[in-house]
């Protein structure tokens, strides 16, 4: 929380430019819902924001267990916000487990609101406390607001006659009401969303609303400790227009729908449930009014195969998964490379290897995307940098897949999928359509015919009279498309498949600089969800007059044609990645540039200051 300078009004003491708030509680405490409601109110208030939900892999861990703590973090402020924030200014801890697991991220002097009713001997023991932290001085470095929240909640929902179980569940809304008072947020959006959510159970809606209002009233009626007053966070100066909040996975789903429309294709989306990729399947399966068929297959392999079958039949096949599932799809992706059919493979990356950290984020499937198949099977790989960017990248993936008749891997990750940010809503009519032209001409037809410029194979869909043909995984004759085991032909076809993918570099934008100059002492190169932290770190360093720029690479294969020259124009190159250095290996081997790595694989996104300090240490040497 940083104080805003040049503030002259009487609220000076409580006026801040940005704040990080984290709600933490049991996985059954409704912290995600609380966070989402607070986010909505904050967006409507006019702050720029970013959020990051951090939930456990267990669906309902035993109450009070540290591994069952679910947290939701929001960073909001009056300037542009691109990450969910480094350190927490305000921590809401619904129980001792939430306190012990999150306290390390709270800044000295930060505010911590605790439900004292949850600090029972049993809960304290389960969290690993030998004495009560509210009383033993552990929290002396912080400003503590101890409230018997559970008791307050039970009191406030008494008139609604709920059972104890349901009454206690309202405590997240009570707490939200209190936090809304703290930041002067409007409760009306939450009230109407509660009414909508519990439309068939009005007594539950009323109880939650009463709890929300009671929490707010509690704070307002001066029962808060002295010195704790409403914070003013000035509205951000954001571009005018119509906004909504979006997670990356929603934006990606909508981008796929948009791309299908622009390509004038129906979509067959075939997937198998896997964290954190499933939300794409959920979102798209609820959009049957669009030209999309969704299919929950029996396994990952069936999902990609059904998508390939759909592409063969003239729809756009799309499959999605996370690293382990993509491994299972590898053979079929090579079939799509060999048969030169369009296909989109979305990988929402998570911590690995194997089951790894299903709910945590990582960027460690880049090597898999680039190289993780048998034989020489090159394909385009592109990545999304922000939640909102997922929309654009999804459209671009479809453009490339259909223009070049190739599978395309789109890399997202657990952070992007779940993190939300405000989205200045695009108008689909502003996008240039790229309609697919199916082959219909029988004159001289061969399934091996291709566009001489793009080298894309013709797409002749079943149902077209006179174009009956066979394709398959066996090597095909360059001219006729018939099976061929000829050695010269295999050389020629392998070269051709490579040339086609490399040639895509002529059809993608040149690499631009996201922030800073086109040359200088240092450039920080990012791809994927590290965008936000890199951007803020570079911005802060530039405010300190450091010579550092930011390049964000969307196209990972083929790389933009000017990237090598551009990188060579800086004295130093720093590449932060949430893996052990996969992109940096690519850059070093491709351009012979002595780039420096910054690796993090903790399952958590980079903090701004981690990148800031890497920048500073490189510039000092």
């Amino acid at each position: 929380m940083s104080a805003v300078e040049d503030v002259t009004n009487q609220d000076r003491a409580n006026q801040v430019s940005d704040v990080v708030v984290r709600f933490a509680g049991d996985s059954g405490d409704g912290m995600q819902l609380t966070g989402n409601n607070f986010t909505e109110a904050t967006a409507i208030y006019g702050n720029d924001l970013a959020t990051f939900p951090d939930f456990p892999a267990e669906i309902r861990a035993p109450a009070g267990a540290t591994f069952g703590v679910s947290a939701f973090q929001i960073y909001f402020g009056s300037e542009d916000v691109t990450t969910a924030g480094d350190d927490v200014d305000v921590l809401i801890a619904m129980n001792p487990a939430a306190l012990i697991t999150n306290l390390k991220d709270l800044v000295a002097g930060g505010l911590v609101i605790v439900d004292t009713d949850a600090f029972t001997d049993k809960n304290l023991r389960r969290a690993g406390y030998t004495s009560n932290p509210i009383e033993d001085g552990v929290l002396d470095a912080f400003r503590v607001v101890p409230i018997a929240i559970t008791k307050q909640v039970l009191e406030s929902v008494k008139p609604f006659g709920l059972s104890h179980k349901f009454a206690v569940r309202c405590k997240n809304m009570w707490t939200l009401g209190l936090v809304m008072w703290l930041f002067d947020r409007d409760r009306n959006v939450t009230i109407s969303s509660l009414q909508k959510k519990f439309v068939s159970k009005p007594e539950i809606a009323d109880a939650n609303i009463a709890a929300l209002n009671a929490g707010h009233a509690y704070a307002e009626t001066a029962e808060m400790p002295s010195g704790i007053e409403v914070y003013k966070v000035p509205r951000a100066n954001v571009a005018p227009g119509l906004y909504r909040n979006t997670t990356g996975s929603e934006a990606l789903a909508y981008g796929l729908l948009a791309g299908g429309q622009l390509a004038e294709l129906s979509i067959t989306f075939a997937s198998y449930p896997i964290t954190p990729a499933s939300s794409l399947l959920h979102t798209l399966s609820g959009q049957k009014q669009f030209d999309v068929v969704t299919f929950q297959a029996e396994d990952e392999i069936a999902a990609v195969c059904a998508a390939i079958g759909a592409s063969f039949a003239g729809s756009l096949g799309i499959t999605s998964s996370s690293g382990p599932g993509i491994s299972l799809k590898a053979e079929a992706i090579s079939l799509a490379c060999a048969t030169e059919l369009p296909l989109i493979i979305v990988n929402t990356q998570r911590g690995g290897p194997s089951t790894g950290l299903p709910t945590k984020t990582e960027q460690s499937d880049l090597n898999q995307a680039l190289f993780g198949r048998h034989a020489d099977t090159m394909l385009p790989v592109i990545s999304a940098s922000t939640s909102v960017d997922c929309f654009e990248v999804a459209i671009e993936a479809i453009r490339l897949a259909t223009k070049f008749m190739t599978p395309v891997i789109l890399l997202s990750d657990g952070y992007l999928a779940n993190a939300s940010e405000p989205w200045l809503l695009p108008d689909i009519n502003d996008y240039e359509p790229f309609p697919v032209e199916f082959e219909t001409n029988t004159e001289g037809f061969s399934p091996a015919n291709r566009d001489p410029e793009t080298l894309a194979r013709v797409w002749a869909k079943p149902g077209t009279p006179g174009l009956e043909h066979r394709i398959g995984g066996i090597e095909k004759d360059h001219d006729t498309g018939d099976i061929s085991y000829d050695s010269d032909n295999h050389q020629r076809m392998t070269d051709l498949r490579q040339d086609k993918i490399e040639g895509i570099a002529d059809y993608i934008p040149k690499q631009e600089v996201a922030l800073g100059e086109t040359k200088g002492k240092l450039v920080v190169v990012g791809w994927g969800s590290t965008y936000g932290a890199i951007h803020q770190a570079v911005k802060r360093c530039r405010q300190e007059k450091l010579d550092v720029s930011h390049i964000q690479v969307r196209y990972l294969n083929p790389l933009p044609k000017n990237l090598g020259d551009l990188l060579a124009s800086y004295d130093q190159v720093l590449i932060p990645e949430m893996n052990k250095g996969q992109f940096i290996n690519l850059i070093r081997s491709r351009f012979l540039i002595d780039a420096k790595p910054l690796s993090k694989v903790s399952g958590q996104p980079f903090k701004i200051r981690e990148i800031e300090s890497a920048i500073k240490s490189l510039l000092e040497t």
């Binding site: 119509l242 299919f295 195969c305 079958g309 079943p462």
Partner: protein
């Protein structure tokens, strides 16, 4: 190019590709029967799609002048599901074998049958891996010697039709590679069936498993080794159809009886009913040497809706309730706010 389908002959369904099966392979006979059948189905050639996996049988699409996709090992049912989901107007055939369809692709076979995707699935069962040079397969009889089982295989084989019924197939039939007169009407029935139709074809591999079905195929023994199923007809077999199948009410098992012996009349025999699943399951399990092996339509449940029909039906219902799709309104559908 737009010639009416009824003017086509078997030749119009042959491709210019050299057929590369071993001399004497049962696949030749199947190919010929199917090429001959195609013009009779009344479906335009461009609407026919053959999808296969890997193995000898899976070369089939290359020899059919229709649309065809030779995919990867075991995955043809999944690819074919995608084809049908994308365009339900297409008439989709899956050609697979015992290894492709029941071993590496067993999971897909379960689910394509359970879902009842509207496909014709032809499983060429030669009880051996041919293309990889003769290893035993999941349908090989116990004791099969092969390069990978030099001392004889020891694991229990599965019966494809029993498997298919077990996972919920609504159309299950069996026929024989060289019996064109039997195969053609069975395939016609399979084609007419809405939903997944599963046809096991006993197919001889002359190189790695020669003669495995000889007892059933040989004209001299066939009368006693085949049980030719006909809906509504009693289960009889043998020369002059003097033998039959009866249910023993005490053991609930089938037994072979001879009409005229021990007071047995035709009225004592089981009458084949394609719609009776319990009967179908019992029939599918019959095997030599204790029983003749049934061929023909073992089970047919014509009223079940196909998966693809339901997918599109659901879509129609959703569209009627939600109105036309509009991406701009979808994006603006939730909570929005304006910054001025």
């Amino acid at each position: 190019m737009n010639a009416p389908v009824q003017n086509f002959t078997a030749k119009d369904f042959a491709t210019d590709q050299e057929v590369r099966w071993c001399p004497g392979c049962g696949d030749y006979a199947i190919l010929k029967t199917i090429q001959k059948l195609m013009p009779e189905l009344g479906i335009a050639r461009e609407k026919q799609v053959f999808v296969s996996g890997i193995g000898c049988s899976s070369r089939f699409p290359y020899y059919m002048n229709t649309y065809g996709f030779h995919t990867i090992h075991g995955r043809a049912p999944a690819v074919a599901t995608g084809v049908k989901l994308s365009n339900p107007e297409l008439d989709v055939w899956v050609v697979t074998g015992d290894g492709d369809g029941l071993s590496i692709g067993g999971n897909h076979m379960i689910h394509v049958l359970r879902r009842n995707v509207d496909l014709q699935i032809l499983l060429f069962n030669n009880e051996i891996y041919g293309l990889t040079k003769g290893q035993y397969s999941p349908t090989s009889k116990v004791g099969t010697t092969s390069p990978s089982t030099p001392d004889g295989s020891i694991d229990m084989p599965l019966r494809p039709c029993v498997f298919a019924l077990g996972v919920g197939a609504r159309f299950v039939a069996r026929t024989i590679d060289t019996e064109a007169k039997h195969m053609a009407p069975v395939l016609k029935r399979a084609h007419a069936h809405k939903g997944a139709s599963f046809v096991e074809i006993y197919q001889n591999c002359p190189v790695y498993n020669d003669g495995i079905f000889d007892q059933i195929k040989d004209k001299k023994t066939a009368a006693d080794t085949r049980l030719v199923l006909e809906h509504g007809k009693p289960l009889t077999f043998g020369t002059d159809n003097q033998k039959g199948i009866r249910l023993n009410a005490k053991t609930l098992l089938f037994e072979v009886v001879v009409i005229g012996e021990d007071g047995v009349t035709e009225d004592d025999l089981i009458v084949h009913d394609e719609n009776n699943k319990v009967l179908a399951q019992m029939l599918a399990g019959l095997k030599l040497p204790d029983f003749p092996e049934p061929i023909g339509v073992i089970y047919c449940e014509p009223t079940a809706p196909s998966y693809t029909d339901d997918v599109y039906q659901q879509r129609i219902v959703v569209r009627e309730s939600r109105g036309p799709a509009d991406l701009n309104s979808l994006l603006r559908g939730g909570h929005t706010w304006t910054v001025s």
